[in-house]
């Protein structure tokens, strides 16, 4: 299953790859963009590595997308890689937020234009599809067994639908999932 690992990217390549993600990740779905760019297009890591990073990034406090970028950067190039990935990801969004925010404060409380809100509604609806599609792609390739499928469904509904606290759900589901994995590996 393990394909021969491609040579690790240069810091500049890492920066650029995450810069692109930072520039396009409107309305959420950052981890979907990262899988597309890092796993699917560039092959810098495989799904297994990506999913472990994704789980750890969500367990750890902080913005999930940023955490995942730092995790991937660290895996590929250590601390310099983490810094390059972080910088790439947030450079453009930070400038954009500060720019629009400064304009907003300078306009003395004028509201946002209505069409921005409408366009955003459509973008978020599509970005929700991006997130779900990422789940579908990942599940098709990495959840071949019934127990894995059940764990996916329970986690998704407990956290996303019932809004149970993330850490409480993980405290139950993570040991369970590790137990299942251990039994499957032994078999």
């Amino acid at each position: 299953m393990q394909a021969p690992a491609p040579p690790p990217p240069s810091l500049w390549q890492l920066f650029l790859a995450f810069f692109r993600i930072g520039a396009v990740s409107f309305g959420g779905g950052m981890s979907a963009w990262m899988r597309r760019e890092m796993v699917q297009k560039r092959g810098w890591l495989d799904d297994r590595q990506f999913l472990a990073g994704l789980a750890l990034a969500q367990i750890s406090p902080g913005a999930n997308g940023v955490n995942l970028a730092v995790f991937i950067g660290t895996q590929l190039r250590g601390l310099p890689g983490a810094l390059a990935s972080f910088a790439g990801l947030v450079l453009l969004p930070t400038c954009a937020v500060l720019g629009f925010g400064a304009l907003y404060f300078a306009s003395r409380g004028g509201g946002l234009d209505a069409w921005v809100g409408k366009a955003l509604t459509g973008v978020v609806a599509a970005a929700t599809g991006l997130v779900l599609a990422n789940g579908v792609r990942l599940a098709r390739r990495n959840a071949g067994t019934l127990p894995a499928g059940l764990i996916i469904i329970v986690c998704a509904l407990a956290i996303g639908w019932a809004r149970l606290p993330l850490l409480a759900v993980l405290a139950v589901m993570l040991p369970l999932s590790l137990l299942v994995a251990r039994m499957q590996v032994r078999r």
Binding site: W33, R48, V90, W115, G122, G129, A143
Partner: protein
């Protein structure tokens, strides 16, 4: 001024470390501290800059830069940025290094395999909670459904789908 910067550093340093599961976990606390406790801005201003941070790409947590900007100018923005991002950066970086070192351990394959379904479950959880907080109405649901199918089963570029979604809402409503 120095006092305000210290307040910004303390507030966002703490909130960053409490943001388990992402930025949504701390928005309510952030709003209360910003509007009530410190009175750096009005409720309306908070909601407006929150909308700005959502309308721009990248992490929604960047809204803290605008809170800092309003409270203490560009220095405030810089302090807020470092305070919210630096501690989680160090935590996940340390975790990633430990994870890298553990690759040779016997239990590593089991751990990696066990994390995968939980991670996929969290991806779907993110999608489901986005669905729940979506604008009500058939149009948005339809956009989400079509986007999901297109992006899961074809190689359509996500930006194209997002532009289509935006265009459709603008055209229809």
């Amino acid at each position: 001024m120095i006092l305000t910067l210290l307040q910004i550093a303390a507030l966002f340093g703490m909130l960053g470390l409490l943001s388990f599961g992402g930025g949504n976990a701390i928005i309510a606390d952030m709003q209360f501290a910003t509007v009530q406790t410190h009175a750096w801005m009005t409720d309306k201003e908070f909601l407006d800059i929150f909308a700005i941070s959502r309308a721009t790409p990248g992490p929604g947590m960047l809204v803290v830069a605008l809170i800092g900007l309003k409270a203490a100018g560009i220095a405030g923005a810089a302090v807020a940025f470092v305070a919210i991002f630096a501690p989680p950066f160090l935590l996940i970086h340390t975790t990633a290094r430990a994870w890298l070192r553990a690759r040779s351990k016997a239990w590593f394959a089991v751990a990696e395999r066990g994390l995968a379904p939980v991670a996929i479950g969290l991806v779907f959880a993110g999608g489901v909670s986005l669905l729940q907080s979506a604008e009500p109405g058939v149009l948005c649901l339809a956009i989400t459904a079509v986007s999901t199918v297109l992006l899961a089963f074809t190689e359509t570029h996500p930006l194209l789908v997002m532009a289509g979604g935006a265009g459709l809402v603008l055209a229809v409503t």
